[in-house]
Amino acid sequence: MNGIRAIVRKELADHFSSYRFLILFALIAMVSLITVYMVGLNLKTELRGIAKPKFVFLLLFTSSGSLFSLVQFVAFFGPLLGLVLGFDAINRERSEGTLSKLLSQPIYRDVVINGKFLAGVITISVMMTAIVLVITGLGLKIVGVVPGVEELWRILIYLLISIVYISFWLGISLLFSILFRSIATSALAALAVWIFFSFFIPLGASVVANSQVSQTETSDVSALVQRARIVHTITLASPLELYTHAATIIDPTRKTTRSIVAMGPMERLSLSRFSGPLSLLQSLFIVIPYIVTLIAIAVICFGISYVVFMRQEIRSL
């Protein structure tokens, strides 16, 4: 790939020196640190005087302190990072006249879009890795528990899932920066998609579920289960939901990615029998469909951007 190094290097320099990236990074780092600090302090007081249970280290990521857990935070605000990195990637070059200059250099056209996407993914990876490492370090200090090998694996997988998830949003914003000529329009469109998936899909899912299942009897188990099933199915359309499900890899006690499970006496019996944590492989089996779907939508999204960009007439660039 001729020239892709030049483009990636320039894009990385642009990202790391731009104010919007620094501001967002400071914001996300700050919130993560505060969350982890509070969770860590809670854990510390609760753990005082008792033997440390297995996998306590992972609670740093999953338990919500006073507001939300780190996983929830990334699910919600991670997309913003992806959107900020990409919403003006192509249309800014277009409006400043640098795109046609790039394209009249001896490079293939796809090098431009590949380079931009790659630089974005690298930036996201650096940032997420930094945050996870800081949290791990802080956790070591506050809780005083050393994570085991399996915990480290879970954290690593979680990190990879987060990178794929944020890269999907980068792909969305890259697509909008190709489709819309105006930077403001592409930024707004990207925000609209984010709001739609983050707020409206969960809301819409419960509205639909309520209309399908009568809510008269709260003790009617089959109705509750049916309602939960409808909500679950609809919310799966949201990448945010996919990510939340996939991120349960980090919690070894989760036997399912679902949040509501109706249990009869037999299930209770079996639950108590198997209440120990799952092995890493078993956890992975549970979340693998979500991980694959996340990767698939990220690839599809970038693929669409790629095709649209390659087919655009240069005169309209």
Binding site: R9, D14, G97, L102, S104, P106, Y108, R315
Partner: protein, 252 residues
């Protein structure tokens, strides 16, 4: 001028959404010449340049640049052609050194020789003293000269200059044209120059082509066109007269 043909087109046609932008264009560009590419706005000059660069595909006809087809061998063609665009964009945050470095890297010029080439190019266009300033602070004339420096970095054999004097003051315009003329003599670069400043074109171009509504209505040395169109045999013609004559005739 050696008379070797560098660029050749035959019946080159481009149709955008049912509108014919370039209509059966056939012409050639000889090595070492400065070719004036004239025509009113929207006549299809920029579209022609894009087709010669392989940035857009012809609807019909063919182009050969240095014996290659630009839409099949875009990399080879683009590494031999420098393109100075109208309304050229720069990355405002970079300084001149960084900009040229980036262009050098895109052209696959190794790092050790890139620095030397950048310095040479900056000196040639007279920007060496201002090279540390960010491009955002550059005047229009300085930007155009930086654009020329980008062509020099590539050491390209052919340069397309699309309105290089657009928006420049008279002094900067003259210096720009002097620079172009000097470069052609020193580096034996072949130049395809598109401009509306006909007296300057007449001064530095060996041949001119006049394009009106997608068709090239005239092509040749200015004195030949003057003889054919105006019937003037001595030096008492201007390119402007020739151009206006063709322009009047080309009107619908």
């Amino acid at each position: 001028m050696s008379g070797k043909i560098l660029i050749e087109t035959e019946n080159l046609t481009k149709i955008y959404n049912g509108r014919t932008a370039v209509d059966r264009l056939s012409f050639h560009l000889l090595e070492g010449e400065v070719f004036g590419f004239l025509g009113p706005n929207g006549a299809g000059k920029t579209t022609t340049l894009l087709m010669l660069l392989g940035l857009t595909e012809p609807t019909e006809g063919w182009v050969k640049v240095l014996g290659l087809d630009p839409s099949r061998n875009p990399i080879a063609v683009k590494s031999q052609i420098g393109h100075l665009q109208e309304n050229m964009g720069f990355y405002g945050d970079l300084n001149a050194w960084q900009m040229l470095d980036f262009i050098a890297e895109l052209n696959g010029i190794p790092d050790d020789s890139a620095r030397e080439r950048c310095e040479k190019a900056l000196r040639a266009v007279g920007l060496l003293d201002e090279a540390e300033k960010s491009i955002r602070t550059f005047s229009r004339g300085m930007r155009q000269r930086l654009g020329i420096a980008e062509l020099l970095i590539k050491e390209c054999r052919i340069a397309f200059m699309d309105e290089p004097t657009l928006g420049l003051d008279p002094d900067a315009t003259n210096r720009m044209m002097d620079l172009v003329e000097q470069l052609c003599q020193e580096t034996n670069m072949t130049v395809l120059l598109s401009s509306h400043l006909l007296h300057l074109v007449q001064r530095i171009c060996h041949r001119v082509g006049i394009m009106i509504r997608g068709k090239m209505v005239a092509c040749g040395p200015v004195e030949q066109l003057a003889r054919e169109k105006l019937g003037i045999d001595n030096d008492a013609y201007t390119l402007e007269q020739v151009y206006m004559k063709y322009f009047e005739e080309g009107r619908p």
